[in-house]
């Protein structure tokens, strides 16, 4: 880089002002929102998912997710009776434009929407060397993109493949559980756009949230429970072949 002394002297105070704004941060948007009153999760009902891809498109619109990258995506499983442990999984463009028509031959088909599990004991936040990714006090795994170096340790650490390096920002990116929406009393973009109610935002600290009754009365699983991540994406009717 070729910078004259004059330019350098002009740039230094500008950089100092910019850094000062990073240090100070911005005030919270929702003054009535108390982080200690919430513990967020998501309920995903496999028996209701029709694979329309509304959630994927809504997420990309709401969060400016670049083409070819996904904060949420839908997979279609085909499990043959004779190959129970080897399901055929497809997800064309994340299921954004739906799926090819499944013919009624051997085995069963079903859709599995995937997203960040917002783990309570998240492996991805543990590996960050600079404290750029963290679990917020209300249970949402977030990324401070001003602090992230783009080293991609977290991308490797996530057992669910939910993170990616943003192609232009060159920092880690992932589902924020629409944190900018849920703190304003709205539901997430994917839940808002889901036509069948296959996705439901859940607040586990709210005693009136229907999630509590649902968890008591249904066979609900999380993905990869053996990894003890404390995943909070609860799947109803999840098939054993799903990884």
């Amino acid at each position: 880089m070729n910078i004259s002394r004059r330019k350098m002297l002009i740039l230094l105070p500008a950089a100092a002002v910019a850094w000062e704004s990073v240090l100070a941060g911005t005030p919270e948007a929702s003054p009535n929102y108390k982080m200690s009153d919430h513990w967020w999760g998501m309920l995903i009902d496999i028996s209701k998912c029709i694979g329309c891809g509304n959630c994927v498109r809504a997420c990309q619109t709401e969060n400016d997710v670049p083409d070819g990258y996904f904060r949420t995506w839908v997979e279609r499983y085909h499990v043959d009776d004779t190959h129970l442990e080897n399901p055929v999984v497809i997800s064309p463009d994340g299921g954004k434009e739906g799926f090819p028509v499944a013919s009624e031959d051997a085995g069963k088909y079903f859709f599995v929407p995937k997203m960040c599990n917002h783990c309570a004991d998240s492996p991805c936040t543990q590996v960050c060397p600079v404290g750029a990714t963290f679990i917020s006090p209300d249970g949402v795994v977030l990324i401070d993109q001003k602090y992230c170096l783009g080293c991609a340790y977290c991308v490797q650490a996530c057992p669910y493949g939910c993170r990616y390096i943003h192609p232009t920002k060159e920092v880690a990116d992932k589902c924020t559980l629409c944190y900018h929406r849920i703190t304003k009393g709205l539901t997430t973009a994917c839940c808002e756009a889901c036509p069948t109610g296959a996705r439901q935002l859940a607040d586990l600290k709210n005693p009136n949230d229907p999630i509590h009754a649902f968890l008591k009365t249904h066979n609900v699983q999380v993905l990869k429970p053996q990894m003890a991540t404390g995943a909070k994406a609860f799947y109803n009717g999840l098939d054993g072949s799903v990884r």
Partner: protein, 162 residues
């Protein structure tokens, strides 16, 4: 002092260390963001910054506040629990400024087929058709009102949205 007779160079060195440590403390004070460590090993202000991002889907409550006529139609049919923006797309810009931002009506031939095209992968109870056989090329809203798609409700050509 005889024990430290030949140790003066070590004191000078220790002094340098102390000085360097003080410089480190001062630099650290200015460079570590104020909110770092507020909630944990991260910048607490980042939470507020993420919460401040703009909303693009207004949420069904915003739609229902104005479009009470559509809502009245919708609750009579099977699409009662389908949120407005599931079909009409993200419209927070319209909710913020209804007079200048006019939403475009979705194309029913694409929209309806996306959910209702028959596939073995869809839940068995979900209404599904093979579009080519079902309508012989007619557009869906010829017979169905998207806001209340049952056949007993007479359809309007514009799809019911006024």
């Amino acid at each position: 002092m005889s024990a430290f007779k030949d140790a003066r160079h070590l004191f000078r060195f220790a002094g340098l260390f102390v000085l360097a440590f003080l410089v480190f403390l001062v630099v650290r004070h200015y460079y570590v963001p104020k909110s770092f460590g507020q909630y944990g090993h991260y910048r607490g202000a980042a939470i507020g910054e993420i919460a401040n991002l703009p909303v693009k889907f207004a949420g069904h409550q915003a739609c229902e506040d104005c479009h009470t006529d559509v809502m009245a139609k919708k609750i009579t049919g099977k699409h009662a629990h389908v949120n407005c923006e599931a079909c009409h797309g993200a419209l927070a810009s319209h909710a913020d400024d209804p007079s200048t931002v006019k939403p475009v009506l979705p194309d029913t031939s694409v929209l309806c087929a996306r959910c209702h095209t028959a596939s073995a992968a869809k839940p068995k109870g979900f209404p599904q058709v093979v579009p080519a056989e079902h309508s012989q090329g007619l557009s869906c809203e010829t017979c169905h009102n998207p806001h209340s798609p049952g056949m007993d409700a007479p359809a309007t050509a514009a799809g019911g949205a006024k």
